[in-house]
């Protein structure tokens, strides 16, 4: 009998540590066991309890897989051809609370927020978040939230993704003095966000290339409280159309606002207002031998860059 008890203890202990490098979920799965491909589980939150640090969770077919909190390095990916939904009606669809060296990758997911859902992805701690081929729709506060007061300088990379119909698409800031928070955006679209597509607040740094900002209240807003905490953004080959304000720099209601946006090869058209700067805001247009590269026309009020920066 004592042996049997010992055996049970051993078994429980063993199964508790039996994490796999690759675990699977399916719409027809069950949340038991270790989620091998032959017996996939049902939810991301159970599957992650069976995943080794640095491992992968793979959604095999189209289904909703539930909200999940991530606190170690992991990749969550939908097999191409499957749409892995996460529907949230309160809180966050995905909360990322990684450790100091943890890289988290989300690929091919569709996060959808019902009224009451706050963030599609809240990136609370950890150095690196990759968002690849995701759709993030309809969150009350932000699609991706990178708000920090930390020595850690987070970086988020958003590639081939769509963030739409929420309040703010991406909201990034860093409160800790002397520290920054970074967002790299490529081939992505920000549409129909009732506040803004991308909002870089104090000490945020953003680069966006080959991306579209359409039908938001503002396309991109860059602010900060003073020069020391201003946010900066660089746009290349971006289109900003049909926003209320395409590009607003240092133009929020806050008293001391400051920010820099540099633009090259961008099209800003069909907005109520094209570019607009507050007292200390700067919009710099790339110039080389007097040649400029941006199109800013056909807006209710076009506005103008405040200055230039030199191409190299």
């Amino acid at each position: 009998m004592r042996t049997l008890t010992a055996l049970i203890v051993w078994f429980v202990a063993t199964s508790a540590v039996a994490a796999s490098n690759r675990v699977f979920v399916s719409g027809s799965g069950l949340d038991i066991g270790t989620c091998p491909i032959t017996a996939p589980c049902r939810s991301f939150s159970y599957a992650i309890s069976q995943t080794a640090a640095g491992g992968e969770i793979i959604a095999l077919d189209t289904a909703g897989y539930g909200v999940v909190t991530i606190n170690f390095a992991v990749t969550i990916v939908a097999a191409p051809g499957a749409t892995a939904f996460i529907a949230a009606s309160s809180g966050n669809a995905i909360t990322v609370n990684g450790g100091a060296n943890d890289v988290v990758t989300l690929r091919g997911l569709a996060l959808s927020g019902a009224p009451g859902a706050q963030y599609g992805v809240s990136f609370s701690s950890g150095p690196t978040l990759n968002v690849e081929k995701c759709i993030i729709n309809g969150f009350d506060l932000a699609g991706i939230y990178v708000g920090r007061n930390s020595v850690e300088e987070p970086q988020v990379r958003v590639i081939d993704s769509v963030i739409r119909n929420g309040n703010t698409g991406i909201f990034v800031f860093q409160i800790m003095a002397g520290k920054l928070a970074f967002v790299t955006i490529a081939n992505s679209a920000f549409t129909g966000n009732i506040s803004g597509g991308v909002y870089a607040d104090q000490s945020g740094r953003v680069v966006a290339v080959d991306s579209v900002f359409a039908g938001n209240y503002f396309g991109l807003s860059v602010t900060g409280f003073a020069e020391a905490t201003r946010a900066e953004a660089t746009l290349d080959r971006c289109t900003l159309s049909r926003n209320h304000l395409a590009l607003g720099v240092g133009s929020s209601a806050m008293q001391q606002v400051d920010g820099i946006v540099r633009i090259a090869n961008c099209r800003i058209t069909g907005n109520d207002m094209g570019v607009n700067t507050g007292a200390a805001g700067q919009i710099l247009s790339r110039i080389s031998n007097s040649v400029l590269t941006n199109t800013i026309e056909g807006n209710g009020v076009d506005g103008s860059p405040t200055g230039t920066y030199a191409a190299k």
Binding site: R22, P80, T184, V209, V291
Partner: protein, 321 residues
């Protein structure tokens, strides 16, 4: 009678060993027996490879792990759209490509990942196409392209792929006789990259060394040690890489030329690139490191701003045509 039976058995074993098909199939529910027709797919790439004729195709029908494989003839390995064909390596190399110099190998739709493996792809000769692949987490390199004495210049072409969280993203070199000039060396290593993403690699995203001639377009390098590093280890084997419409952000060094060896020679041509949020944007060192910016009628096309410690500057120009 006995002898006859023996002959028949020997014959049938011999002929099945030779029965290679132009198109073979693998599935997560397959079994590694027979010739892998679509009606009875096999389970592993390694077994299926023994059943495919030179120049044929191995098709993964559904999402599963298909195991490491060594390739030494022309072949295409492809995941059916909608399936993810994993290859996981717990040691060594996930896919070794060392065919004849005239062979062409294509890998499409594969997801290579490491649980202790060193290289995602180890490539030595011929033409290798990497299309729509994900290569993640290898201790050495996502793609380790090392040629030596290959008389037909080997070529690596990477399209629509993601290479992340490895030590090197791609490291490429061709040892052998080089050239002091910028013309083609007797043995080059060609690297073409388009529409691809290199992120979080602990060494360079692309490390172009001896005798590399590289063309990279519409690609993103973010969060690597160097986004792109170009430097030969030999005095007479200059590496040259051209970047167009590339974005280099949040690397320690965005673009490095001539950095890292005793007598490094490396030349980078850049046009229409965005280099920002790196610690250092453009980084040139060594006696023969050069970053040349495209120029036409005194007009430049690169954005190099907003780097944290130093933007750096091109060392010179080249003329648009």
């Amino acid at each position: 009678m006995l002898r006859m039976r023996a002959i028949v058995i020997v014959l049938s074993v011999t002929s099945s060993a030779m029965a290679a098909s132009n198109r073979v199939f693998v599935s997560g529910s397959g079994v590694d027996v027979g010739t892998c027709p679509i009606t009875s797919p096999c389970r592993s790439f390694a077994y299926a490879y023994t059943r495919v004729s030179a120049g044929g195709e191995i098709i993964a029908l559904n999402t599963a792990g298909y195991g490491a494989v060594t390739i030494n003839q022309s072949v295409i390995i492809v995941a059916a759209p909608g399936a993810t064909a994993f290859v996981s390596a717990s040691s060594g190399t996930a896919i070794t490509v060392s065919p004849a110099q005239t062979d062409t190998v294509t890998l499409r739709g594969l997801a290579l990942s490491s649980t202790g493996g060193s290289d995602g792809i180890y490539f030595t000769a011929g033409l290798l196409n990497v299309e729509n692949c994900i290569i993640n987490g290898f201790a050495n390199a996502g793609i380790n392209f090392i040629a030596s004495g290959v008389t037909t210049n080997p070529r690596l072409q990477v399209i629509n792929s993601v290479i992340r969280n490895n030590n090197w993203g791609i490291i490429a070199m061709h040892f052998g006789t080089g050239t002091d000039g910028e013309g083609l060396p007797p043995g080059a290593a060609f690297v073409t990259i388009a529409n691809s993403t290199f992120t979080g690699n602990g060494a360079p995203g692309l490390d172009a060394r001896d005798n590399v001639r590289g063309a990279v377009s519409d690609s993103l390098f973010a969060g690597n040690l160097h986004g792109v590093a170009v430097a030969s280890g030999s005095d007479h084997a200059v590496a040259i890489v051209s970047l167009d419409r590339c974005t280099l952000s949040r690397n320690l060094f965005g673009v490095s030329a001539g950095v890292g060896f005793q007598n490094p020679r490396g030349i980078v041509h850049i046009a229409n690139c965005t280099v920002t949020m790196n610690s250092t944007g453009l980084n040139v060192a060594g006696p023969d490191g050069q970053i040349l910016s495209q120029m036409s009628n005194s007009v430049f096309t690169n954005t190099v701003v907003g780097n944290i410690f130093s933007d750096g500057s091109p060392t010179g120009t080249y003329t648009a045509k």
